[in-house]
Symmetry: C2
Subunit: 385 residues, 2 copies
C-alpha cells in the first residue's frame, strides 16, 4: 500500500488561511503560485534547466515563468541528453467550450513537442467530467469531447506523433494500467490528496487511476520504461503526485512534470479562474470585443487620476493576456508595462491594442478549427503507437 | 445520491454474534441460510413461485431449495407470462481452478436458460479478483479466466444464446454503464454494504459498479428495458442490492435475483466454504477418491456405535454432495438419508457410493472441458448481442 506524506499534501489541497484553494476541480481565490511550490513540494524551473531545453531560452512561456515549476525535469533532461527518448502526456477535461486559458498549456505542449521532437498522448477525460459534475450526462461530455478536440487539433500538434485518447472510447487501452494503479492507492490516500468525503461517489474516488494510466502507457507499449513528461496546470499536480508515488511500486519511472500558471479571467478581482469572463474559441469578434472592452483592469477611476498616478499592470487581466500569450516580444511587453505604470497608456487604448492582437489570433484559430473537422481521424489512438 | 438501508445492510455483512460471515469475498463459519434471508431482506422462493417456472417443480435445485431465496421473481414471472422476454446474468471471479461448488450455480443457470429459452451474459470478473487478492497479478487472473472458461463452456450453455464477458477484455462495453452506476454510489454506501475501510484500495471501492453493468447491458443493447434475472450464490447479494437501488435512478428495471446455498466442503466442520477440500475439475480420479474417502462425515467414532445410534446426514458434507448435486432422485436421496440415520449405511460404503456418482460425472465434465478448448470463440462477447 502507498504511504503518502499526508500532512504536506493535505495542506496543499486547501489553504483557507491564504484565501485561495487549488484542486484539480476547483481554483478559487487569489492564487499565490510561490506558496503552491512550497506547499505542493515542487521545484522552481531554474534558468539553468531552461537553458538545457532546446530553444528553452527562446520560449516565451519558459522565459516568462508562465511554466514555472517542475518535478524531475533535471532527471528527464539527463536521460534525454544521454540519447534516451521520452514522450509527452497532457489532457483536457471536456465539460464545455474551449477558452484561451485552456489553450495556453496546449500551445506550450505543442512547442515542447517541436523542441524535443517527441510523441504526445493527449487524454480527454470525459469520464472525469461526467463523474465530478453532477449535472453532466455522458452525452454532454461526448459532445464536449468532440468540440474540444477541434480546438486541440487546431493548436497544431503533429498528427504523426500525437494521439488523442478519449477515456470512454479508449478505456480498453487504459483499464489494466488503471487497475494496477488503483490497487496501490487506498481511500485514505485519495481522501488526503483530493479532500474526498464519505459522500464522494465511488467513480470519482477511482478516477485518479485513469488519469495515471497514460503516464505508463508509453512504457507498456514500448515494452520498456520510456520517460514521460507531463505539462499541465499546477492544479493537476495532486493527481500526478499519486502517479509518481505509485510508479516505482509498479516498476515504472516516475513521470516528470512541468507546471503552468493559470491565465486570469477578464472580469478580474480574483485572479485565479480563467473561466471567469474568458474568451471562448467560438466567440464572434463582436463578443470578444465586448469582453475585452468590459474587462476589469488595474486602472484608476478617472483618466485624470490615471495620467497622474499611473495604473497597476500586476493586477490587470488585460496586461496578463499580453504577458501570458499575446505579446511575444519582451521589449513590447516591457513598454506596455512601463507605459501603464507611468500613466502614459490608458486602459481604453490598451484594450484596443489587445484586440488588435486577439482578433487575428482567434480568427486564425477558428480557421484551423474548421479544418480540424476533417482531421479527427488522424489523431485517433488505436493502441500500439 | 443513493440512500441505503444502512442498518439492515450492515447487519447483513458481518454477523459476529451468529459466528458466521457472508460477504462476496469471504464466507466463514456455519452459515444459517434462514438468518441470511431475514438479515439481507430477501424472500423465500415459495412452491407457488417455483410452480410458475416452466419445469420448476421437476428441477432438483428448486425442489430441494438449494436455490431458495429471491428478489422480485414474482415480478419477473408476471412479465414473462405476459410474453416479455428477459435475460440471465451470472458470473465467476477467476482466481483459481474450478471446483464442484462453483459448478453448481452454473449448472442451475444452464437449466434456467433451457427452461425459459433465454440469453445469458456470463461475466468473468478478473478485475475483481486482481483487486481483492493481494498476491494475484493480472497475468494470474488472465490464466485463471481462460482455465475457468473451459469449465463454464463444458457445463453446456447454448453458444447461440450465451456470451462470456471478460471484464478486462470487454471493459469498453461495460465502462459507460459502470460510470453511470458509480456516480450514484457514495463511499458511505460501499462501506456500509461491503464493510470497506479507509485502507481499502480505490479499485476495490469502484469495482461493484463493474459488477452492476451486465444487469443493464441487455437493456442498453436492446434500446429498451429488458428484465434481467441473476442466479447467484447468496454471498453475491450485497453487490446486487446496490445494483437494484441504483437501477431506477438510471431508468432501468431492478434485476431479479435467485439465490443459492453454497456446497459445503468435504473436510467438514464448518459447513460454509466449498473451497475447503473441494473437488476440482482438474483432479484425477485418484485425487477425487482420496478426497472423498478422507471426507469429514456425520458418522460415529466406531462402526458398532454407528450401527446402534445411526449418524447425522444434516451435518455431513458427503450427504450434501448427494443432495446438492449428485443424486437427482428424491427417493434414492431419501433412502440414503434414512439409512444414515438408522445406522444401516456406514460412512465408508456411503463414500464409495458417492464416488460411483462423482467419478463418471467428473469424467464426462473433463471430456467436455477438453472439447471446450476449440469452442472459446463461440462465446466471445462482441457487443450488440
Amino acid at each position: 500500500m502507498l504511504i503518502v506524506r499526508h500532512l504536506s499534501i493535505r495542506e496543499g489541497v486547501r489553504m483557507e488561511k491564504d484565501d485561495f484553494k487549488v484542486t484539480p476541480w476547483e481554483v478559487t481565490g487569489d492564487v499565490d503560485y510561490d506558496k503552491l511550490v512550497s506547499r505542493f513540494g515542487t521545484s522552481y524551473l531554474t534558468d539553468d534547466l531552461i537553458s538545457r531545453m532546446p530553444g528553452g531560452r527562446e520560449n516565451m512561456f519558459l522565459r516568462r515563468k508562465i511554466f514555472y515549476s517542475h518535478r524531475d525535469i533535471g532527471w528527464l533532461l539527463d536521460s534525454y541528453e544521454r540519447g534516451n527518448p521520452f514522450y509527452l502526456y497532457t489532457g483536457r477535461g471536456p465539460s464545455s467550450g474551449t477558452h484561451l486559458g485552456h489553450m495556453l498549456p496546449w500551445i506550450f505542449t505543442r512547442q515542447l513537442q517541436e523542441m524535443f521532437d517527441v510523441h504526445l498522448y493527449f487524454q480527454m477525460t470525459d469520464d472525469e467530467k461526467f463523474l465530478f459534475k453532477e449535472q453532466l450526462t455522458l452525452d454532454d461530455t461526448r459532445r464536449a469531447t468532440l468540440d474540444n478536440m477541434l480546438d486541440i487539433i487546431a493548436v497544431g500538434f503533429d498528427p504523426a506523433r500525437t494521439r488523442i485518447i478519449v477515456d470512454t472510447r479508449d478505456i480498453s487501452h487504459l483499464y489494466n494500467i488503471a487497475l494496477r494503479v488503483s490497487k496501490k492507492v487506498t481511500f485514505s490516500t485519495a481522501k488526503a490528496v483530493f479532500g474526498f468525503k464519505n459522500s464522494t461517489n465511488i467513480g470519482s474516488i477511482f478516477y485518479t487511476a485513469i488519469q495515471s494510466a497514460p503516464a505508463f502507457l508509453g512504457s507498456d507499449i514500448a515494452g520498456t520504461n520510456v520517460p514521460c513528461l507531463i505539462p499541465c496546470g499546477i492544479d493537476q499536480d495532486p493527481h500526478f503526485r499519486i502517479t509518481r508515488d505509485v510508479a516505482p511500486l509498479l516498476g515504472y519511472n516516475k513521470p516528470a512534470l512541468i507546471h503552468g500558471k493559470m491565465l486570469p479571467g477578464l472580469s478580474g478581482g480574483k485572479m485565479s479562474s480563467s473561466g471567469n469572463a474568458a474568451i471562448y474559441t467560438t466567440d464572434s469578434d463582436a463578443e470578444i470585443r465586448k469582453k475585452v472592452m468590459n474587462a476589469f483592469t488595474g486602472g484608476r477611476s478617472t483618466v485624470e487620476e490615471q495620467r497622474r498616478l499611473g495604473a497597476d499592470p500586476d493586477i490587470c487581466p488585460v496586461y496578463h493576456h499580453y504577458e501570458f500569450l499575446l505579446e511575444p516580444s519582451d521589449e513590447a511587453l516591457g513598454r506596455i508595462y512601463s507605459d501603464c505604470r507611468s500613466g502614459a497608456l490608458l486602459c481604453g487604448d490598451c484594450k484596443k491594442h489587445l484586440l488588435s492582437k486577439i482578433l487575428p489570433f482567434m480568427q486564425k484559430h477558428r480557421e484551423n478549427r474548421e479544418k480540424a473537422r476533417d482531421r479527427l481521424d488522424d489523431f485517433v489512438f488505436r493502441g500500439g503507437e
